[in-house]
């Protein structure tokens, strides 16, 4: 039986061939296990992002190996690198073109806060133009750190109401 504490329950005597769950749990389970990234590689962090996709670190273990270079087909934008003011409108434009539900990971110091680029040319944190779900520290972060960020994002998605994201800006 389904109780408030169990997401998925199955009792063959009571239910026969039927599994009962909450819609949120089922939808979020689907979302978390195939979160296709939009690789917004802008600087050296993108090299670490490539390593995450490679055999050694293998982001495929978490269902996020399908790097889509089309915003229409991606769920999670990974901003990897320094965002200049000249590039910022394009980052926002690509984010706008992604279909909801969508999430953003700010990878590395530059994407999170401008990093060491306290200058006239650099956006001081990508959260000034897109809503960021997970920040990853590091310059650049280790591939493991990005995997950890992805797992944190999956945890976050599991806990939120599935309908919340459908109309997100």
């Amino acid at each position: 039986m389904v109780t408030p504490t169990t997401e998925l329950g199955y009792n063959s005597k009571v239910e026969g061939g039927v599994i009962v769950s909450r819609a949120d749990a089922a939808i979020n389970w689907i979302r978390t296990n195939s979160m296709w990234p939009m690789p917004m590689g802008l600087a050296c962090c993108a090299i670490e992002l490539m390593a995450v996709g490679g055999a050694r670190f293998d982001i495929a273990r978490f269902g996020a190996e399908v790097m889509r270079f089309s915003p229409r087909q991606s769920d999670c934008m990974i901003v990897a690198g320094t965002v200049t003011y000249k590039m910022a409108p394009q980052v926002r434009r690509i984010y706008d073109q992604m279909a909801a539900p969508k999430w953003v990971i700010a990878m590395g110091a530059c994407a999170s806060s401008g990093g060491m680029y306290r200058s006239y040319a650099t956006l001081q944190g990508v959260d000034r133009i897109v809503p960021v779900d997970v920040y990853v520290s590091g310059c650049p972060p280790r591939p493991e750190a990005l995997l950890d960020a992805l797992m944190k994002l999956q945890d976050k998605v599991r806990r939120e109401p599935a309908s919340k994201r459908l109309l997100s800006a």
Binding site: R93, D96, R118, S119, Y120, R128, P131
Partner: protein, 216 residues
Amino acid sequence: MPADVTTALKEKFPQVTERASADHPAVDVPLVDLIAVLSYLRDGQGFDLLMDLTAIDWAEGAAPRFSVVYHLYSTAKPGTYVRVVAPCAGTEAEPTAPSAVEIWPAANWHERECFDMFGIKFQGHPDLRRILMWDGYPYHPLRKEFPLAGIETDLPVADIAEETGTKVIAAPMAGGPFVASPGEINLTEAEPRAKDESWSDRVARPDQTALRQMKE
């Protein structure tokens, strides 16, 4: 033979003067003779490679305010290298220099960068647009009067600026990597951060409220 270049130049152009240099020969040239000197260096002295083209801002109110600098290299005589410096004409707001695109096509993008960063108008350039900053950016960032942090202005794209409510802002410099705090160099404390705490993890940035509400 570096000395030969200077001697040959001086013989052909008496108005050329030698310039103090730690390594390779360098010469000062009046702006009116610049193109003739550069053409001669390419055709008569074999300086076929324009390695760099840049400018110097001598500080506000200085005369001349700006100088253009050409770094030339000869692939025919490896190791032969010469620098040519010429003071810009025009006003402080709009200095001018002749374009060297006709001599070395490589000058095209160098002159665009020089125009972008210093605002030097290269006369005769086929396509003098900004190359690093976006079209419509109102300042020239490498000029002495321009602060490193930048000056508040609008984002390059109007509808994105309106949608996000974000502007190009002056970056917080306090405690940053380019701000030295004399007498108290502690590496842990010197980590890049805003010491004024206006943007710390405890205090939200004032412009973040709109985005946060959008996410909720």
